[in-house]
Assembly symmetry: C2
């Protein structure tokens, strides 16, 4: 699947910015470069950085609204560092051993150094944001607080049945906060009016939901070769993602009992994963989820219509929206 222009155009600059911000000599900085995918475990340059969605959105929005890329870059890099710090710590919390097809930081360097590496990345993100000015620091730290609160909700979901509403509240914080922040930072760096920034943030809200729900669908039905994660991995990890919330809301007595039985287990076997997927497929959970993705992306398109973007900018963002609906990783 071809990447949309927004995700390719700024890649080199973001990579450069990340390299600069993580150029320290000690082991800890090598761990961080491995964590963001700039280097492999031997310190050899690698190309494993993920989509760079958030910094690309900062730079695209800033540029589209008349700002300068160079001024927006530190804020964009800061946001990507916050995202990556959260991944390092999430992987410890979820005991995930693989990300982007490679060993996670904790599984390679141990839990203690991984906690420390994530802490450093959070601090380095703020150091970058300081270069972007006071408003950028404030926006970044607000989003960071909200993201961590969302992660707290997610962790609190363990061992509980989660309703679709609570799930949406959680992802609005955990995933949505940084995506909204990307648009906010872009608007700030372009010196946009308050109502424009509000419109951008609203669009970010819809995109954030669509993005996370698509992620959840990939966590069950994604292709291992493409996602870098085993199929059904979210089920194996008993993750309370949208597919489970939908399945529990739609399931009849017998199927509901099966879901509860599996999710009550300490360890979920391959066969259990298959049984859960069978129930989900019988309930058309994937289709319901895809409809939700389509719904939120439509809302984003509506918001986009209100924004003072150029024709080309509108096309670029629409291309990204279409990509987010279909993405396979």
């Amino acid at each position: 699947m071809t990447l949309p222009r927004i995700l390719t155009r700024y890649r080199a600059q973001v990579k450069e910015g990340l390299l600069k911000s993580l150029k320290g000599k000690s082991l800890l900085y090598a761990i961080l470069r491995y964590g963001v995918g700039l280097e492999d475990e031997r310190g050899t340059p690698a190309k494993n950085m993920g989509k760079l969605l958030r910094p690309s959105l900062v730079l695209f929005t800033a540029e589209e609204l008349g700002g300068e890329i160079e001024e927006a870059l530190p804020g964009a890099v800061a946001l990507e560092l916050i995202h990556n710090f959260s991944l390092i710590h999430d992987d410890i919390q979820d005991c995930d051993e693989t990300r982007r097809g490679k060993q996670t930081v904790w599984s390679l360097y141990g839990v203690a150094q991984a906690i420390n590496a994530g802490d450093l990345m959070q601090a380095l993100a703020v150091a970058q944001a300081v270069r972007a000015g006071e408003e950028a620091v404030a926006a970044l730290v607000d989003a960071t607080v909200e993201m961590i609160e969302g992660q707290g909700l997610d962790l609190a979901f363990e061992g509980k049945e989660v309703k679709v509403d609570s799930y949406l509240q959680m992802i609005d914080k955990k995933t949505g906060a940084l995506i909204r922040c990307a648009f906010r930072l872009g608007g700030l760096f372009a010196g946009a009016q308050r109502d424009v920034i509000e419109g951008l943030v609203e669009m970010g809200r819809e995109l954030g939901r669509a993005f996370q729900i698509r992620d959840d669908l990939l966590g069950v039905w994604g292709n291992r070769e493409i996602t870098g994660k085993p199929q059904g991995s979210d089920i194996r990890r008993r993750k309370k993602s949208l597919p489970v919330a939908i399945a529990l809301a739609c399931a009849s007595g017998e199927e509901q009992a099966l879901l509860r039985e599996v999710y009550a287990k300490e360890e979920i076997a391959d066969n259990d994963v298959k049984r859960v997927i069978t129930v989900m497929e019988h309930l058309d959970v994937c289709k319901t989820g895809e409809e939700q993705v389509t719904h939120y992306l439509k809302c984003a398109t509506h918001q986009l219509a209100e924004l003072p973007f150029s024709e080309q900018g509108r096309e670029d963002l629409q291309e990204l929206i279409d990509y987010l609906a279909r993405r396979e990783k």
Copy 2:
């Protein structure tokens, strides 16, 4: 032992500031209030906050050099939050189950939420610093980066023999960074001249070393009733603190072999702790350590003489210095 005036005078204001910055309603904020010692595990107000050395130094220095307490308070609170976030994560990394005589955050709420709680506390610290202005954020984040680099060195010491020099480099970062930052922030909030701030930071460097070395001595010879930690706890945890570095540097063949044998073990038994303490006492390690504390505190007193403090301020800081030499917790 009576607390020095600097550690009692600002306590109520710092407590108020901490309460305000951690007033959120969700579980995560309750965990943070427990972590800093504002509440017990049932959410009942508690008095278990530790010495509040760092924020007290910020406020004392600011006031002494003509600044306003109210303006300096957010920065002081921010620094205490950074210190406490590091304690929450350190306790996970060191598998410590007790701090200040109570269960550590991870041992009460689990590792996943403890990682998340520490992350939130780091972000909330920055949010406080934002209220104190751009220079404060920059000073705080630089100190945070240095502290975490120091923690990285400390973790890297595991399984290695540590020389006194490397040990001092490590504590200059891990402990020294925040203490130097306390003086720097105090100077900034008072609008002090650059050379005064440099003098303050130099004094902080000496105090930081004395403080950490005293801490290390307490980690071996401290009284459990007073420190809240079992005696010899740093030996049991195989922590590469100054007493071990001194002992290894001074020990003869047989004693060195004993130290190496014990520190190579996976688990250190009560009897091993006793054997190590016997060797250390034979080598007069405690006295050597105390001499170092005295040395660095003397250097701090020399620095103090150069600073434009009032007579009363000089007396107050000297009282603190004398306390740091003798403190038992």
